[in-house]
Symmetry: none
Subunit: 200 residues, 4 copies
């Protein structure tokens, strides 16, 4: 419930209004649009209206910016998922909640950062990758718990690990084709995904 508020208070998620927060949002956008390597520090600085040298008052290196984008995103979505799970009463509700939540993350405000998380993985140094992996494991734990519960309730069949992986690909790929201005809402998309998973 208070998970998200707590993260912000602890400073683990930067206030989006702050200079640092605005830079991270712009960085997610540019990294997604042009790729991390093709985005220059000068691009980043210009996007928030400062000089290139000033970037280094907020981050020690360009890679630190990439890391911060990834880390804050995964912390954020994990907290949102926990909140969503708490408010869903049945296994089916919880499954739908996760689908909706992940789609909202991919397609909504944090969508660009989520895409960066997937596409710019190799640009992160190994030690940094390990740090993110730890956070990712917590997030994936929520999914596996919920899918296992759904399988026990007879909602889904087959190997839940494989199922989750199919879902990861299918849902993250939506960023490449889903258009919010089209005829389908995110809620409907989540329903379509539920149909894919649930055998009744």
């Amino acid at each position: 419930m208070k998970q998200l508020a707590q993260l912000i208070e602890e400073g683990r998620i930067t206030d989006p209004q702050s200079a640092r927060g605005r830079l991270l949002a712009k960085a997610a956008h540019l990294f997604k649009e042009k790729g991390y390597e093709r985005t220059t520090v000068r691009d980043l600085a210009a996007s928030v209206g400062i000089q290139s040298g000033s970037i280094f008052h907020h981050f020690r290196s360009k890679e630190d910016i990439l890391f911060a984008v990834m880390e804050e995103t995964i912390l954020y979505i994990t907290a949102k998922m926990r909140e969503a799970l708490e408010q869903a009463p049945t296994p089916r509700d919880r499954l739908l909640a996760l689908l909706r939540c992940e789609l909202e993350s991919v397609l909504g405000g944090t969508g660009e950062a989520m895409t960066v998380l997937v596409y710019e993985w190799r640009s992160l140094s190994e030690p940094r990758q390990d740090e993110i992996l730890k956070l990712r494991d917590q997030y994936e734990g929520l999914w596996l718990d919920t899918l296992s519960e759904a399988r026990d309730a007879g909602l889904v069949k087959g190997d839940v690990a494989v199922l989750r992986r199919f879902l990861t690909g299918a849902l993250s790929w939506t960023i490449t084709w889903y258009k919010p201005e089209g005829s389908m809402t995110v809620e409907e998309l989540a329903q379509q995904a539920l149909y894919l998973v649930v055998k009744e």
Copy 2:
């Protein structure tokens, strides 16, 4: 049947034994492993045992190499899909054939090039993207035709365009987690994917 042989004969797909062919294979590997931007022309040259300047006797620019990897890959997999479809008698067989064929492409010999096709898209200039998109449309046409046929036969339900897109993500994502040395074969993976799609 003779589609692939024809492409090679026409020179649209390079002989993998030739100097150019070996360079393309190594390029796919390096682009996948390190990313296009982080792979230098020197890396590419060294991987086939020549000097960096000599690369430009085979390709006009680094981007040309990326384009060639992508173009040849999509030509190759389209030809393979056509061959597979011709040998499958029923709608269900044809659906399974496509799943198997796409998974084999992603996870087999051309897997690295397929990954490059997905992950390095933004490194291609727009005119080049358009060229690849035309080829991709042909490939996707095969999928949509087959899925439509399956829907008419009552095999699958829902919007086939959405279904294909869910599948694109789910199958291409396998490259990140599937281990050939594990307990599951690619054939079994294709079966699992079929279960996901087909409602009986």
Copy 3:
């Protein structure tokens, strides 16, 4: 006698207890250890526990700090030499007094600043170099007078200007190898230097 006290009173040598004085001492240390160019204003500020911007309330520029270190050092050692000379009755005593005094300067509390004076000379702008050179001439005058007197007394032979220059190099170089915790005292070192110079 009262030379040193007078300089402090006049404000030409900064009170080492003051903020400015502590900064100069730390600066001498850092400049010696890392070199002037490699020492950042941030390093200097951090060494006295203030922020980098605050440095410029005490000094107009980084070069001013270097200049102050050099100027105060040469003023200080000149004053000490004058005092030492006044208390030495014979030419031989006076020669030993200078040797002892210069060695104490190089190896003692002002040693780091003396090293900076030698090693960071080129980092000073030409007008500033000229200012220091004037002070240096006064200092060297004391040496030449004393050596000339020693030569007239038959203590030393040869060209006193050349002799002084040999000595300058020999004594300043001690900073690189002399260890106070070793078996030789500075007094003994001064004696060794005297043996080098005096032919009896």
Copy 4:
């Protein structure tokens, strides 16, 4: 005798006519004149008439240039000292030979590089310092052997290690004041240094 020729043949000392050799000579000059830190890679490139990027075809980094200057210099002077020692029949001759040889090194063609060796020591990374130190030990070994022999022959008195250190400083310092166009030749300077050392 053939020591120097051998070093050149082995490629441990670069041919001064080659691009690399000319760069090293210019680097020694600039490093001495402006200091290593204040000399930019662009300065170095311009001094031999190439573009800044081209420097990195010859050296991997700016520090590599500094290292090469130091290493080649100490190899060169060690070889020259060995040759000079072989041709000197008596202990006194050998002592004079070393004095002359070191002065020629400091004041002659390699003088700038020798100065760099002394003044830019801190700009070298520690592993590189260790490499140079090993070479320096060989060089200093020649001095200590010759001084010990001279002491056994009654030519010099006192601690030869301290004596060598006084000499190091005195001789290297000549670079700051000796003018070849003045009235004193290097040979006479070597004689003056011998008078300083030898007690007859």
